[in-house]
Amino acid sequence: MDLVALLAIQVLYAVASLALISVGLAIIFGMMRVINLAHGEFLMLGGYAAIVATSHGISIWVAMLVVAPIVVGLIGIIVERAIIRFLYGRMIDTMLATWGLSLFLVGLTTAIFGNTTVGISAPLGSIQIGAYRTSAYTLFVIAIAIAVLGAIFAVMRWTRLGLIARGTMQNADMAAALGVNPPRVYAVTFGVGAALSGLAGAVLAPVSGVFPTIGVAYVAKSFITVIGGGAAILSGTVSASALFGTINQIATFVTTPVFGEVALLAAAIVLIRLLPQGITGRFFRRGL
C-alpha cells in the first residue's frame, strides 16, 4: 500500500516536472508556431539565475520564483527582438537559428561558469510514507506545476490577454483583427514562455544540479511533450505530460532511469506517427 502511494507520488512528480519544463515551450509553439530549440538553454539559464542570486544572499524561494523567471523572461524578449522576429513564417529557419542560439548559450555559460555541475540543496526535508521516505521537495514541484498550469488557465480564461492568446492560437490574423499590435503580442508571448522556462529550470535545479549542457537533457522531452500534445497549450501539455510521464516513471521503476527515458522517447515517436496533429489535434479540440 505504501509502495503504491510512493509510486503514485513518483508518477505524479514525473508528470508535473514534464509539464513544468514543457509549458513555456508550449506557449511559444502554440501561439507563435515557433519551435525554439534553445528551450533547454532557457531552463539552464533559469537554474544559473537562481544559483547566482542565492549566492548573493537572496532567499532561495525568491531566487527560484521571482529572480529566475524575470531574468530569463528578459533574455527571451531580447532574443525575440534580435533574432526570432526576422524569421516569422519560416519555421525551419527559426529552428536552425534557435539551435545556433542554443550552442551559443552553452558556450557562453561554459566560458563564464565553467564546465562543472553546480548544485543547490533542496530546501525542504523529507517526509515519511509508511516504511518509505520521500523528499518533501517532490511535493513542492508538484504543487508548483499545478499552480503554474492553474495560473495559465485563469489568464487564458478570464483576461483580455487570454482572449488575444486564444484568438491567435486559432487564427494568426485574428490578433490583427482585434486591433492589437501583433509584434508586441509576439514579444510578450515569447518573454512569458521564456520566463516560465526560467522558473521551471530554477525549480528543478535543486533536483538535477545545473551545468551548461543540461539543456540537452530537457529539450527532447519538452519537444515531444509539446508536439505530442498538439496545438492547444494547456490541455495539450497536460495530456501529453500525463501520458509520457506515466510511461517514463513506470519504465524507470521496472528497469533503469535511462531506459525509462528511452521508453518515453520511443512512445513519443509512435504517438507522433499515429496522431501527427498531436493529442489535442484529435481530442479536446476546443480546449485551451
Partner: protein, 356 residues
C-alpha cells in the same frame, strides 16, 4: 559561357585539385598534418550525406549523426568479433542504411511533415545516445565486443585489404582511402543527381504535389534518398572509427548533429561542393579555436574565443539571418549579377556605335 560549359569547367577543376591534393599531400606535409587532413576528408563525406538528403532531397534531418555513429559502432563491434575487415566494412554501410530505411519508411509513409521530421530524427539520435551511453557495465557486450558506455570502445583494429588480414592500412593509406572516398562520393553523387532519379528528387523538393500529379510517388523517392544518405553517413562513420581507432557515444550527440547541419548551411544547400568547403572550413576553424585554449589567458574574452560551441552558434545564427542560401550559391549569385551588369554595360557601349 553557358551553364553546361561552366559545369564541365567545375568538374575539371574539382578533379584536378582533388587528385593533386590526394597525391601530393603525403609527400609535402608532416604526418601530423596528414592525420588532421584525413579526418577533414572523412567528415566531408559525412557532410555530403546530408547535402544529398537535405540540400537536394529537401528532407530535414537533424539526426545525421545517428547513422554516422551507427556505422562507427557497427564497424567496431563487428571487427572485434570477426577480426578481418571486409565484412565489418560492409556491415558498417548496410546496417545504417537499413536503419535509415526503417526510420524513413515510418516517417515518409506516415506522411509526417517537415518540422516533425526534424524533431523525430533529433529524438532518435538522443535515444541512441542515451542507450549507448548507459552501457558501461561488463554485462553489455555483443559477442566479444564490450560496448563500454560513456567510455567508448578503444583499440579498434584498422581496416585491411579485402580478405587479407595481414595487409592492414597504415596512417598514410588511411589518408589515401579517406581522400579517395571523398572524391568517389562527390563524383558518385554528381552522377546520381544528373540521372533521372536525381532530377526527380529535386523536382519533389521543388514541388511535391506537382511531382505526385505527374505520377511520381514522393514517399518512395524520399525513402530511397534517405537510405542512400544513411549508407553514406555509415560509411563515413566506419572511416572515422578507423581513423582514431576509437568510438564513443558523443558521435551520436546533438553537438555532432549540429555540426553537420552547420557545414551544409554554411556551404549552401543544393550544392555538393558547398558543404565540403563548409565542412573543411568549420573544422579548421574549430581546430584553430581549440588550439588557442592552452596558450590563451584565463580572462573571459579568451575563454569565449577558445569556445567552439559559442562561435559555431554565432555562425549558425548569422548564416540563417544574413546568408540563408549559404556561401557557394550566394557567391554564384554575386558572380552572375556581375556578369549581367558587365553584359549590360557592353550592350550600352554598343548602342551609340550602332546609332552612328
Amino acid at each position: 559561357m553557358n551553364g553546361r560549359s561552366l559545369n564541365i569547367l567545375g568538374l575539371v577543376l574539382v578533379s584536378v585539385t582533388g587528385l593533386a591534393f590526394m597525391l601530393l599531400t603525403p609527400q609535402l606535409a608532416e604526418l601530423d598534418t596528414v592525420l588532421d587532413l584525413t579526418v577533414y576528408m572523412i567528415m566531408a563525406v559525412l557532410a555530403l550525406s546530408l547535402a544529398l538528403i537535405w540540400g537536394f532531397g529537401g528532407i530535414l534531418c537533424f539526426g545525421q549523426s545517428a547513422f554516422f555513429g551507427l556505422g562507427a559502432y557497427t564497424y567496431a563491434i563487428a571487427m572485434f568479433n570477426i577480426g578481418e575487415s571486409t565484412l565489418p566494412f560492409l556491415l558498417a554501410i548496410i546496417l545504417p542504411a537499413a536503419f535509415a530505411a526503417l526510420l524513413g519508411y515510418f516517417m515518409f509513409y506516415g506522411r509526417i511533415s517537415d518540422v516533425y521530421l526534424g524533431v523525430i530524427t533529433l529524438t532518435v539520435t538522443l535515444i541512441l545516445f542515451n542507450s549507448v551511453n548507459s552501457t558501461a557495465g561488463p554485462e553489455f557486450h555483443i559477442g566479444t565486443a564490450r560496448l563500454g558506455g560513456f567510455n567508448g570502445i578503444p583499440g579498434i583494429p584498422p581496416l585491411n585489404w579485402p580478405f587479407n588480414k595481414t595487409a592492414a592500412i597504415d596512417l598514410e593509406g588511411m589518408f589515401y582511402l579517406a581522400t579517395g572516398s571523398l572524391l568517389a562520393t562527390y563524383f558518385g553523387l554528381r552522377l546520381l543527381l544528373a540521372s533521372q532519379f536525381g532530377r526527380i528528387i529535386v523536382g519533389i523538393r521543388e514541388n511535391e504535389r506537382r511531382a505526385e500529379l505527374l505520377g511520381y510517388d514522393p514517399r518512395a523517392y524520399k525513402l530511397a534518398t534517405f537510405t542512400i544518405g544513411g549508407a553514406l553517413a555509415g560509411f563515413a562513420g566506419c572511416l572515422f572509427a578507423n581513423w582514431g581507432n576509437f568510438v564513443s557515444p558523443t558521435i551520436f550527440g546533438l553537438a555532432q548533429s549540429a555540426q553537420i547541419i552547420i557545414w551544409v548551411i554554411v556551404g549552401g544547400r543544393g550544392t555538393l561542393i558547398g558543404p565540403v568547403i563548409g565542412c573543411i572550413g568549420i573544422q579548421w576553424l574549430s581546430a584553430a579555436l581549440g588550439a588557442n585554449q592552452p596558450s590563451g589567458g584565463s580572462d573571459l574574452w579568451s575563454k569565449i574565443f577558445a569556445n567552439a560551441p559559442l562561435i559555431l552558434g554565432v555562425i549558425l545564427i548569422a548564416f540563417v539571418l544574413l546568408v540563408p542560401k549559404g556561401l557557394v550559391p550566394t557567391l554564384g549569385d554575386i558572380g552572375l549579377s556581375l556578369v549581367r551588369r558587365r553584359r549590360a554595360r557592353e550592350q550600352r557601349g554598343f548602342e551609340p556605335q550602332q546609332a552612328e
